[in-house]
Symmetry: C2
Subunit: 434 residues, 2 copies
């Protein structure tokens, strides 16, 4: 019988995270301070001890604490793997297309996989409150729920323009007990200074990071969290890829092409690092494709160099692909992919040729998302449509060559809170940023 869906039982939730630092083909350049500043010291103060340890760990596997593993189960992990048979038929392709359903998380994306352990380690270290910034809102949503599950307070600084434009995102964070503030806010020194100069300041991710970090630096019982870019986040997310390995074994499939979108890199790394390990080890010739918006072409057009992780230079300098820390991406709907930099690990593996980067235009990814929804039912988030677009491209190539490739993509999140983006596609007024 056909495999339409491959589910695993709670027992199959991985027991350890995979840390690619142990297997990188060349040495990873370390973060460094910019001249005359000590951002590394700030970072050490702002993050939990466990987080910092994981950040620089060289251990290949790190045990998932049993309480975290249990919360993964309670929140529905493992996530199912689906085969897109309707889409295959529609494309009339000999290729097989599989998609791993991270949208089935209660918060609708993969973000909870790192929010839970970050909240857990903080709780264990006696932290009372976590702060973070959020742009599109997926990370702020996941962290709000994780903090509530672990009995921590959660403060989310949401870029004011998003706060005003996306009331639903604020609403869902409130439901999960998160305290959401439009940034710049009156809560912090940074925020008050900016508002004093311009009470109508629209905010930016840089400002929101500054506000969240200011609180973590000011109070011992407050720590700062980040939903992507860092190695700890990449490794937490490898529960996706490890489950996916088990599921592809059950389906008796060897993937030829594996695809994920990439903003800061966490859903890409989480779903594909466990497979890239095999390629580094010489045991696989799978093709790995990272897809980004043409509007924010970090991997395809950026430089591989030391740059700040944030706009204001609060973070240490990281060696990564970057468009420059002052790059302002056009306001595409895929808010989660509008980041100037990229995970240092994903960057290094791209530099070394293990990952092939591609970019796609906004209108064509929405078109792919609609094709997917009409055939498979599930509505993808704007970020996820990037992976779908390339999966469809690859499947069409197979139709031309007759190759029966197995294509696997990570379906990072659903688009239920992104319907305005789809509406603008239909209304014909969508920016097709190049």
């Amino acid at each position: 019988m056909e495999h339409y869906k491959i589910t695993l039982s709670s027992d199959d939730v991985p027991t350890q995270w995979y840390n690619i630092n142990a297997d990188l083909p060349v040495e990873l350049p370390m973060p460094k301070n910019s001249e005359g500043k000590d951002q590394i010291a700030s970072l050490q103060k702002a993050f939990t001890k466990a987080g910092l340890e994981q950040e620089f760990s060289q251990e290949r596997y790190i045990k998932i604490p049993s309480e975290v593993r249990e919360l993964y189960m309670k929140m529905g992990r493992p996530s199912p793997l689906f085969r897109a048979t309707n889409l295959e038929e529609y494309l009339n392709t000999p290729a097989k297309i599989y998609y791993k359903r991270e949208d089935t998380s209660p918060t609708g994306s993969h973000k909870l996989n790192s929010a839970i352990p970050q909240a857990y380690f903080a709780k264990k270290e006696g932290v009372e409150r976590l702060t973070t910034e959020t742009g599109a809102g997926q990370w702020g949503t996941a962290l709000s729920l994780a903090c509530n599950l672990l009995d921590l307070d959660c403060t989310v600084y949401m870029v004011r323009v998003s706060f005003d434009q996306k009331p639903d995102r604020k609403n869902i964070m409130n439901i999960y007990n998160g305290d959401v503030y439009a940034s710049p806010s009156e809560n912090t020194e940074v925020g008050r200074q900016i508002l004093a100069e311009n009470p109508d300041h629209p905010g930016s991710l840089g400002v929101a990071i500054s506000e969240a970090m200011e609180e973590a630096l000011a109070y011992d019982e407050v720590k700062y969290t980040l939903g992507s870019v860092l190695n700890q986040v990449m490794l937490h997310q490898t529960v996706i890829g490890q489950e996916l390995k088990t599921q592809l074994e059950i389906a008796e499939e060897e993937p030829d092409v594996m695809i994920a979108c990439a903003g800061g890199g966490s859903n890409f790394a989480g779903s594909l690092f466990p497979f890239i390990k095999d390629k580094i080890d010489g045991n696989s010739d799978t093709q790995f494709i990272a897809v980004e918006p043409s509007a924010c072409p970090t991997l395809t057009q950026g430089s591989y160099e030391y740059d700040f992780g944030d706009v204001n230079g609060f973070t240490p300098m990281l060696k990564m692909f970057t468009l420059g820390h002052d790059f302002v991406a056009p306001s595409v709907h895929a808010g989660g992919l509008r980041y100037h930099g990229m995970s240092p690990q994903v960057s290094l593996l791209t530099k070394e040729g293990y990952i092939e980067p591609r970019s796609a235009h906004q209108r064509e990814v929405f078109e792919a998302g609609i094709t997917f929804a009409r055939n498979e039912g599930v509505l993808p988030a704007p970020e996820t449509t990037h992976a779908i677009k390339v999966a469809i491209d690859e499947a069409i190539k197979c139709k031309e060559t007759g190759e029966e490739k197995t294509i696997v993509l990570n379906f990072s999140g659903h688009g239920m809170l992104d319907l305005k983006g789809y509406a603008s596609y239909f209304e014909g007024n969508m920016l097709d940023a190049k």
Copy 2:
């Protein structure tokens, strides 16, 4: 090990629908025409042959066509059963609470279970287009997707006030290729007449039904569909309850209390009729609770009598609990529960004492929904919060009595498109309709 989640494989999708007509404890009163009219003839013209056959069938089990069963699988059935261990712990109850996740359907509710077979039978009979009305929008969304999957056109008449207030619902129907019109529209005689008198008419479910039926009566290649109340819908939905039986067997649980919300009755019937059969047969003493809004108390305050299914008297008269076909429910957020009548089968079984009806106020069901989301992660639709409220009440009773009851509820849909309702709860301006 604990059962957090019980998944079934695609093979476990039921092979037949269960038809409670075969097992009703007393005879079901037949639909009848009102004086001087022949609504039964209209209905016969408006519906598919297969639909009408199922409507009056006395067969206990009706085979699910293999194409329909395959589409159920492709759209992700069977749905998982979860245990609400976090909620149990929060309530400090000895009770066990399980919830069947119909929100995992791509359209976010149970409605696709009937939309797929209705579209399938129509296609088989050479129909080219289906029409329907939608209020809250769940049924229109499911029918749009089902029609697209089966290569049928779909026209949805959406009450104008909802059309204007809920652009996201319209957007998602467009994504699924549904043609959505604000009703009253210029498409139909009825619509044009109303607009001629009042160009700003806000519309009503009654008007929308009239428009959808007018088209089905005017064209042979067009048929009309309905997402609840009818027996065919009840029986299509029994895939839920049959899966749930298998899952509870795996969990080794005998349910003491089973709960579902009830508007027209389809999610209640679908999840619980297969269990109520056992009670009718004398093999079960499970308690079955149907929960409705205090604002639309059909089962708790209505009369059991013959009444029209719609406001305008286009449908035959059905013997059911009703608040009167001209009853206008206050505008509570649970749009799917604002129906004056109730499935004749659910009505009869309530009359005969097999089903216990309860009502709940709007603010208290939203509060229950928020408690659920904060503990279990998943955000319930306003309709679903009614079942959750009563499950929590029952679990609290168990805390008082020390009883270790097994409580099972049908989680009929998610609330991702209902965040404005939650916002009004937090803003303190929610109507607590009594």
